[in-house]
Amino acid sequence: MMEILLDIIIFFCIYAIITLSLNIQHGYTGIFNLGLYLPILVGAIITASIPGRLAMLIYGIDSKLDFSYNNATVIDILRSKLANDPLTSIILLIITMLITITVCYVLGYLVAHPALRLPADYLALFMLCLSESMRVIGMQTDWLTGGVFGIQVINPFWWLGRYSYYGFSIFVVATALCIILIVNKISISPVGRLLKAIRENELAAESIGKDTNGIKKQCISLAFIILGLAGVLHAFWMGAVVAGGYTRVDFSYWPWLMMIMGGAGNNMGTLFGTLILVLIRRVMIISKHTFSFLPFSVVWLEPILLAIMLGIILTFRPEGILPERSRSITDYMRKILKLQ
């Protein structure tokens, strides 16, 4: 029972991070991005390529062994080393996250520069193209992520022995909480109001002297950082990175559905939507055998049910279960002056 709960919690936390970054992009700023899995994949690729190789250097492991080609042997050796070396494990984790943050920030900026010149729908599809390209490159390049085989990654919590899964779960929850707090802080700050202003009327925001393009670039860069961290967590959770597994259905369509269902522009709504869908997915996985009377494989029930849910929400409740609360000037004045 504990393991089911932990699996759901980790899955929820990772998707919460992804949907929150989507909420910043689309819910707050109105940037329509269908290529969420680009930075997630970059985060996963960094996790696959760097900490393992770094650990090999630190421990002076036989240079004839290639991390990608002799992956199983190397991981075996690293497991025995890192299980007794908590300090190195944590340092590797921190380094991975720092590198991911840096790379994703730069990537976000580079991608945003041409992308923001495009209208909304072009941008969405442009991001989708880039994500798909990255996926193909990841699948075809052996030394990066083991190509089509995938690659096993180190577990920075091996030193916890049989409690390593619990340790990792706590870390994922802590990271998710930090990101939730940061995003919430941004949303209720002047920056958040500025992002909403850009979403509502970009021209008006520009006319009062705001560099809307620059702000959108920063927004995309921030979102990329958050998504990259989600990719790192996902890779550590899986214990392996298989580039071909990062598909648009799992890492773009599902987060969009979670955000729309919960309520775009509302962090609580987004989290709520994520929780509902994670639970529904788990319930579908566990209970699909009760549908074995159907004349087709129950595997196909998932996309059909997903489509039905999305269709119902779009038709009857497009603003989501917990839509964004619109605030009047009076609300803001009351808040600022701390009036009742």
């Binding site: 599809l125 880039l130 969009w256 494989s297 038709t315």
Partner: protein
């Protein structure tokens, strides 16, 4: 010397891709919503020639039925989008609505493939019908059929647009929805028929596909990116631009890989990335595509005159 096979592949690919790109662009300019289910509709119809083959008919006899099936699915999608649009759905919501259809079509395709495998022992998870094609002077029949279908559909469409009342009404509706309706055009009917026609084109393109290429239920999802790349390169708001874009993408994918493969044989495994790179470069250099560039050049000449 470049082998004939390279030309054949590039030509057949370009005919099919041009048709697909044309259909995608037309659907886009009618409702200003990129239809993410478009390639799924097209590739769902690839199972029709296989079904006809199982029933001992030539796969080419399935083309009219593929037109009707693709058109019918596209018509249903249009109705769904219209309903949502009347309720004030935003662009994002409408695109999400096309994903609904995409998911359902994807599931239906796989269910059908599974049914064929399980009950008829026809392995439909991955199939190719090249063996069942005819030859004309040693060349594959699909070359002539795809060329013929592509050229005739484009000519038919051009005649429809330029020479018929329906075509004029459609151009008016695309140009300005409100103004067209005030002039007595039944805009919804016109657009519904346009979507049916475009869906039909997608269906026919899909039905031709397995006669040269190998097919599986995931081809639709992969080809979507290539179709989009073709539209972007040609000009996403220009129908003829996207036809040109389709040809360009097809030829560049095949020929670039072929020429680079002399020094870098591994380039073939990155073939799928070529169209995406071409599209990304096009977006940066010419956001409105070749058609946009050509019309700007024309405008400048007119200004000079």
């Amino acid at each position: 010397m470049i082998p004939l096979q390279i030309f054949l592949t590039a030509l057949i690919y370009s005919f099919i891709l041009s048709l697909l790109a044309m259909g995608f662009t037309l659907q886009y300019i009618t409702l200003n919503v990129p239809n993410l289910a478009y390639s799924s509709i097209a590739f769902f119809c690839t199972y029709l020639p296989l079904t006809f083959l199982i029933a001992k008919f030539s796969p080419y006899t399935s083309l009219p039925f593929a037109f009707i099936l693709g058109g019918a699915i596209s018509f249903l999608l249009f109705k769904f989008l219209k309903l949502l649009r009347e309720r004030g759905m935003s662009l994002v919501g409408l695109m999400m609505a096309t994903i609904v259809f995409d998911l359902v079509i994807y599931a239906c395709m796989n269910i059908y493939a599974e049914h064929l495998s399980r009950n008829l022992q026809i392995y439909a998870a991955s199939f190719s019908l090249t063996t069942y094609d005819f030859k004309v002077f040693g060349l594959p029949g699909i070359l002539f059929v795809s060329a013929g279908v592509c050229i005739s559909l484009i000519m038919l469409f051009t005649l429809l647009l330029l020479k018929t009342r329906f075509g004029i009404a459609m151009r008016a509706a695309v140009e300005n929805y409100a103004l067209a309706s005030t002039h007595g055009v039944d805009v919804d009917r016109v657009l519904a028929i346009a979507w049916f026609f475009v869906g039909g084109i997608a269906g026919v393109s899909g039905a031709l596909y397995p006669l040269w290429f190998s097919m599986d239920p995931w081809v639709g999802a992969r080809m979507f990116i290539t179709i989009f790349a073709a539209c972007v390169v040609g000009g996403i708001k220009s129908i003829y631009g996207s036809i040109l874009g389709g040809a360009l993408i097809a030829f560049s994918e095949i020929f670039l890989c072929y020429f680079f493969s002399f020094s870098f044989p591994w380039i073939w495994s990155y073939r799928a990335v070529i169209s995406m790179i071409v599209a990304a470069i096009s977006i940066v250099i010419m956001p409105h595509g070749i058609a946009g560039y050509v019309s700007r050049v024309r405008e400048r000449r007119l200004v000079k005159i």
